[in-house]
């Protein structure tokens, strides 16, 4: 499907977690340091599997890469205020879930520019907020929620302990029951052997 040639005309097939494939230009893919390290020099025989990420996420990530192909070389993160209209639209049209998926995919693919912008965007969400507001942004459980969670966990642990104790009791009883026939069997065998030995010695 692809050759290791580094021409921007070359297209690579990318495989998503759904097993779907789509093509991405070599120039866009080269913004991924992960790709560069893994496939650029050896080439890829068949679709490149990035199967930890879904198609929508990967397409979004590579949409960014395709767009920034012609931009100047990356020289550190820009402030959000310096982002172009296209960049802002790109980020604004993502919902939070997609945004998180894009960050993770961008991190895995090691696309410095996109990762930096995403991180700067999150920092911007946190700036100028007090602790309670920050907790809402980063969805940390509040003290009350933690307390409630701890209580539930304690209840669960107590219930589990009870179940374990009952199971242990039952197992003990079963063990005693099972032990009886074995002991009887051993005794019977011993008796039989003794009788056999005695009859043999009588003969």
């Amino acid at each position: 499907m692809t050759s290791p040639a580094s021409s921007s005309e070359v297209k690579y097939l990318i495989e998503s977690s759904e097993g779907n494939t789509f093509d991405v230009s070599g120039a866009a893919l080269r913004q991924s340091n992960t790709f560069n390290a893994m496939f650029l020099n050896i080439g890829a025989d068949g679709p490149i599997p990035f199967t930890d990420y879904n198609e929508a996420t990967l397409k979004k990530v590579f949409e960014y890469c395709e767009h920034s192909v012609n931009e100047e070389n990356y020289s550190g993160p820009k402030h959000q205020d310096d982002l172009s209209k296209w960049d802002l639209n790109f980020f604004n049209e993502m919902d939070q879930k997609m945004f998180i998926d894009v960050i993770n995919a961008s991190n895995f693919l090691d696309i410095e520019r996109l990762t930096s912008y995403c991180c700067e965007r999150i920092a911007r969400m946190l700036r100028g907020k007090n602790t309670q507001e920050m907790i809402k942004v980063i969805t940390l459980p509040t003290a009350e929620e933690l307390e409630a969670k701890q209580k539930v966990e304690e209840k669960k642990a107590a219930a589990a302990k009870k179940v374990a104790e009952k199971a242990a009791e039952t197992a003990e009883k079963t063990e005693t029951l099972e032990e009886l026939p074995v002991q009887q069997l051993v005794q019977t065998t011993r008796n039989k052997l003794t009788r056999k030995y005695l009859s043999f010695s009588n003969e």
Binding site: N104, N107, S116, I122, N130, T131, I138, L140
Partner: protein
Amino acid sequence: MQLLSFPALIQKEIFGNLHFDGLLILSFCSKRMRNVIQCLQKHRIKNLKTITYYFTRNDRISIVGKSCDSILLKLNLSRSQDVICMDVFGMGREIPLWLTNLDYWCFTYNYRTEQKNIIIEGVHAYLLQFFESSVQYRVESDSSKLPPSLKHIHSSVYELPKNTTAEELEECFVSSPNQEYVSIYLDFACKISPKSIIYGIENLHVACFDYYNDHILFHFRGKSLIMETSAFKNITIIRFLEAWKSNQGFETLVFLSIGSPYLDRDKIHRATGVKQSTDVCEIKWKERSVSTSSTF
């Protein structure tokens, strides 16, 4: 978005985009968050060289953290009559301390006046834990009330309120008796006890504003003493220099500077036999080399 679920590299980059004041607020979210920030921002924390607590009039406290060449942290604590509890600086919800102004240049926390000492001790304890001991902590005060004694203070500058007693001054050093440098602006005659912690401070600077404070000169046990604008009699300095020269005490003293408009330099030199250059008298004996600069 679960910040703590992101890979460490992402977390590090997010934290890297926040100033220290923002990181502090974020660290109040949870213990785990604080640990993660400390761990991933070690390289930045290392750049922080000093944190200074400025106690100013009106019970305002400014906290400024600096690297070698720039300000990295700036917080203000201001008094208020309101009572809002926010669980900041790890002090729980019972302590009335709350964030009021999230101005980009300086975050302001408000506190109840009567809780000032508890608040500043709590804030200092948190900063000590957060930034660890690599940072030098300093206190500067020109407040009308002396600040509380804080632990692990490296140096301090006190402009003492009028009528401060020797006991009150002593209290300031109880938690950090081994400070490297202390500067005291003493606008009155203060009878410090001969066993005072202050005399054991390694480098002491005292501005006496024309008050007689001879006892400081005679009881000092540190390495370097600078007394500015002091009122001294010639005979006091002669007595001191004779004792110092003949090794009767002051063994640890290696540098002494006295600035006093009342001294007769020639008279002192004649009496003590100290050779003089234009501005500086130098005394040399035994293995010690002592320089006594005088501006009288």
